[in-house]
Symmetry: C2
Subunit: 245 residues, 2 copies
DNA sequence: CGATTTATTGAATCGACTCAATTGATGTGG
DNA sequence: CCACATCAATTGAGTCGATTCAATAAATCG
């Protein structure tokens, strides 16, 4: 089952027809990208909305002098910017981390959702509100959390998000980010990211080896990152909208 | 004319009926708040969507130990979180800076917009996409810009946003934020905010006195803040949706 | 007008940065 | 499959931007 459906079902219960239209949309107009490739660049005209099927990507912004900030991650099942097509040009770029498979979702697909699939429409709203909440939480992290809190918080968030999409096994998950990526997310230098990770490792909060992240004790990592999961709004909140089946 | 209408008209041309329904919504269910008051608190159940009629407010998050981050500002004409009511609880608080007048917008109002006012619906989408873009830009600022770049950037943003709502006169505008507020936005200490402002003043980039901000040379301030206005998407992008009048 | 908040200054400290060099992985072509 | 090249991770040393603490000055308010 697709990661998108899996994730949305945490929020609303979909009907067979709902699931079918999502699965269909995810199988048409599929494209592949290699790792470390730009899918879209600042200044481009936004066309389709993209659904990440497999792999990790990110949204980033860059200053003229090269300073780079990753402002969001896209994990499997994530949708990039509902409705961007009403804007004239992209104010940021989207690049892959790993190899990535995406499906382009057409305007017509969204029209169809709006017309006959209220539960999906609500779930998409939820997705978009959660993305805003994540962006706010990153603002909080960068503004107030110390280096190690920030790192711990980020690792928690990624772990929770992957778990919602069904992409963790017990206490571990794939983790393809380099320390350089982590520097661009956390606003720290590469050197300091390295030292911060050593600190988290030495206190056994995380095991990070190869491209695998293991969190032996999620509770402890959450405490270290002052992580409160409320902003991910993972409770089944749209119960009243459940399909009857 | 309301600041909301003024702002939205930068993006789409509204019909008389469009303007009328907006003006009506902005005059029903109006509430007043004093300065430095919480309008909503983290954990509350979100009910209505709020439109700021007059005054400045902000969205903020707080850690248990008291560290506080302002994550957005609400200026006259701004709408707080389209559609939040589908979430179960607030993950942040909303507080006033100055005295504030708001209008509560009902779910029914949005139903009406969705049914018969496509241009307003598009303009609301635009508003919401711009708010996301602002949040990303703040992430960029906190992660990559130096203290003085960050401050200059923030002042530019506020100036542009106020101008869009018709709230500037030549090169100046109201500026009710204290240095302590600025510290909570920029992630700097109060002391360093003070020194950063002195730096901006000494290079004649800004004049900040009383509760008034003057920007003698916007171009220079933009350069100092590495400010690129593209993320505010101020071009009239929805031309194809203009009302015929 | 005194009381309280806001702004300013100085001095000492610390977290994070830069620069530079080294070690360890990963990958590719001969 | 090894040799070489490249990229990623690690370590040390010195520096700097921003912080904390503490005291004073200025502005605002009832």
């Amino acid at each position: 089952m697709s990661h998108l459906v899996r994730k949305l079902e945490h929020f609303v219960r979909l009907s067979t027809a709902d699931r079918a239209i999502l699965m269909r949309a995810a199988s048409e107009r599929v494209r592949n990208f290699g790792p470390r490739i730009d899918i879209a660049r600042e200044g481009d005209k936004p066309k389709d909305v993209r659904l990440i099927l497999t792999g990790w990507a990110c949204r980033y912004k860059q200053l003229e002098d090269g300073r780079r900030q990753i402002v969001s991650f896209f994990l499997p099942g994530d949708i990039c910017d509902l409705n961007v097509f009403i804007l004239r040009e992209m104010d940021h770029s989207i690049g892959t981390i790993t190899s990535v498979t995406i499906a382009d979702l057409s305007r017509e697909f969204f029209d169809e959702i709006g017309a006959g699939h209220p539960r999906i429409a609500t779930a998409f709203w939820w997705e978009s509100l959660v993305n805003s909440a994540i962006q706010r939480e990153w603002t909080m992290s960068l503004g107030q959390r110390t280096a190690s809190e920030r790192m711990a918080h980020l690792l928690c968030e990624i772990f929770f998000r992957l778990r919602l999409a069904g992409l963790t096994r017990q206490d571990s998950c794939d983790f393809p980010l380099t320390q350089s990526d982590l520097a661009d997310v956390t606003g720290l230098s590469k050197v300091h990211v390295n030292r911060t990770l050593q600190e988290l490792r030495s206190t056994e909060l995380v095991v990070l080896k190869g491209k695998l992240l293991t969190v032996p004790n999620l509770e402890r990592l959450m405490n270290a990152g002052l992580f409160n999961a409320n902003y991910l709004h993972m409770e089944r909140e749209g119960r009243q909208l459940d399909a009857n089946e």
